[in-house]
């Protein structure tokens, strides 16, 4: 704030009062508060979660493809047996005995010919086991006993077709989706506020021309343009951001223009002009702060629309590209595997829908709280 410090105490209570009332109304709205808390939780989880899940987002476990969600440690007995059989076949041996005690597995392999001890290297390579230790070699090397550490892996939301942890991927995808949502909204906000404020403030023929242009742009099939743009120019994150921001500023421009027109006629704005305040200063000091409520509401409701648009593009394969990921990409993968692995849709879709619902509810709550017609 660039307000002079000497002026601040005298002016602050009067200017803050309506906003403080609005905050109080918001604090009483339990739905909006719950939405805010949920959003904070999701954002925090996306930021910190990937470090805590114990899996890198790109790490794939070929032996653990399309695991259903669960709390149990993997590999469970069934999958352990399957993995051992597969590895033993590679080592040209058979599993004679496999006894699991806690984390260690005592493995007895037999074969018709001597087993090459080096082939045990297949075990640590398979993601599921640690370094093996040979306990005994019997029958001229045709029987081999080894102890090996079995890893304990947790996949709370299951794994995808490549055996990647869906929780980690959902959280990393959330970072991308939220980033796009916030940045593209910011782009739309800056363009829309500047355009709307100028149009409403200058008025007259300028306003007519500027709004006519908005009318024309409204009639353009913009989403189709975005699709042309990202397909023809190779989808990059920056381009998607720019394209979505460029599409969504129209509503913001209209809202800000209407607010500016309404405020322009008010006495305090006229007084400011009469006192010789420049147009820019009047806009910044008097009009935009008073239009802030409408802008905040519009921006809050814009974020879910942007996230939805991004996931729409990603769903069609036009948005974020591998190895990058977003909720739209994960939902698309889930929708393709819905018959064999419905959890691949359920996990990422829950994150996406929860975020969208929370943002919409928060926007509604803000709109109610900032509505001056609301009492108390």
């Amino acid at each position: 704030m660039s307000a002079a410090p000497a002026l601040a105490p005298a002016r602050a209570p009067r200017r803050l009062a309506p906003r403080r009332l609005a905050l109080r109304r918001l604090a009483r709205n339990r739905v909006a508060l719950a939405a805010l808390a949920l959003l904070g939780l999701i954002a925090l989880a996306c930021l910190l979660g990937p470090f805590l899940t114990g899996h890198a987002p790109e790490r794939s476990y070929p032996d653990l493809r399309q695991l259903p969600p669960g709390l149990a440690a993997e590999p469970g007995p069934e999958r352990l047996q399957a993995a051992l059989d597969r590895l033993a076949y590679r080592m040209r041996a058979r599993v004679a005995e496999a006894e699991r005690q806690g984390d260690t597995l005592r493995l007895t392999l037999t074969a018709d010919r001597a087993i090459d001890p080096r082939s045990l290297a297949y075990l640590p390579r398979s993601d599921l086991f640690g370094e093996p230790r040979i306990v005994a070699r019997e029958a001229e090397g045709r029987r081999l006993v080894a102890e090996v550490l079995v890893r304990r892996l947790h996949f709370l939301l299951g794994t995808d077709v490549h055996g990647r942890d869906l929780l980690t991927r959902s959280l990393v995808a959330g970072r991308v989706s939220l980033l796009i949502g916030l940045t593209a909204t910011l782009v739309a906000l800056l363009v829309g506020v500047a355009y709307g404020a100028v149009s409403g403030f200058v008025g007259g023929a300028t306003d007519a021309v500027m709004m006519r242009l908005v009318d024309i742009l409204y009639a353009l099939p913009f989403v189709f343009f975005v699709m042309v743009l990202v397909v023809f120019f190779r989808a990059s994150l920056a381009l998607i951001l720019l394209a979505i921001g460029a599409v969504e500023w129209l509503d913001m421009a209209r809202i800000v223009r209407a607010e500016t027109l309404r405020l322009r006629r008010r006495d305090f704005v006229r007084a400011a002009e009469a006192l010789g305040l420049s147009a820019l200063a009047t806009l910044r000091r008097h009009i935009l702060p008073n239009a802030l409520g409408a802008i905040v509401v519009a921006a809050t409701l814009l974020v879910p629309r942007v996230i939805l648009l991004e996931s729409f593009l990603s769903f069609l394969g036009l948005g974020v590209q591998e190895p990058g990921t977003s909720w739209g990409v994960l939902v698309a993968e889930g929708a393709r595997a819905i018959e064999s692995a419905p959890w691949m849709l359920a996990g990422p879709a829950s994150f996406l829908v929860a975020t969208l619902v929370a943002l919409n509810l928060l926007g509604d709550g803000l709109a109610d709280a900032l509505d001056p017609r609301q009492a108390g």
Binding site: A219, L220, P221, M227, V228, V231, P304, S311, F312, F315
Partner: protein, 307 residues
Amino acid sequence: MIGYGLRRLLQAVPTLFLVVTLSFFLMRLAPGGPFDLERPLPPAAMENLRRVYGLDQPLPVQYLRDLAALAQGDLGPSFSFRDLGVADLFARGLPVSMTLGSLALLLALGAGIGLGSLAALSRGGTADRLVGLLAAASLSLPSFVVAPLLQIVFGLGLRWLPLGGWEGGAPAHLVLPVITLALPQVGVIARLTRTSLAESLSAPHVRTARAMGLGPVRVLAQALRGALLPVVAILGPLAAALLTGSVVVETIFGLPGIGRYFVDGALNRDYTLVMGTVVLVAVLVILFNLAADLVSAILDPRLRLGR
């Protein structure tokens, strides 16, 4: 009224011009061409292809040629569907998309206005809160999440409806796509109706009507007449949203509409197909905006005097 309509149609000309110009240069400035394959064609064949489709001429010449052709309603040949014109593709796909879109529009309007009225009449009550929740949910559920869920429940689980396909527009094949397409718009319309009907119910003319002893149905009709203006005003954006939504719905349910052509066209660098689709969508949105204005004028006589 007719003069007003004609004037509005004339105003659509610069919009369409902008659409064509923007699309043309966007596509041509982008890297890659319609004949890029995994294995590049021999230069001579490439040369021939480009000559046949007129891509060897300078860009401004191509632009003017395409513009003149479009002005005469000639959409040109498709680059990726051999031996087919863009108009032929539309003749196949448009009936599918139109059936889907108009049914979804009717469903969205009917359900949206109905639910919105219900909420406005019981403002603050249980029905109001339920409708509000439903609207928030319908706005937050992406169609590409709803569609697979519907497929699982009604297609795989209950086996009531087919999973997808068109089959000449058999009613059973229409149910799930239409619901998916209409759902987000139901929320939008329900909210708009609720807000403006609640306001209109306390307006003087409605109070007068009530005071004069009109029955609740007649009062509601009076109030709705004015309250529907905001709903009518979003017909244009609504049409655009339904067209965009049809891209996803047609992809998931495997329907041969124009939405799918657009995505494939863009991926294949099929200049004429993309241009045709964009122009078609723009024309539809403009027509819907015009229809919205005309209906508004019918609903509210004050609007007839303006512009």
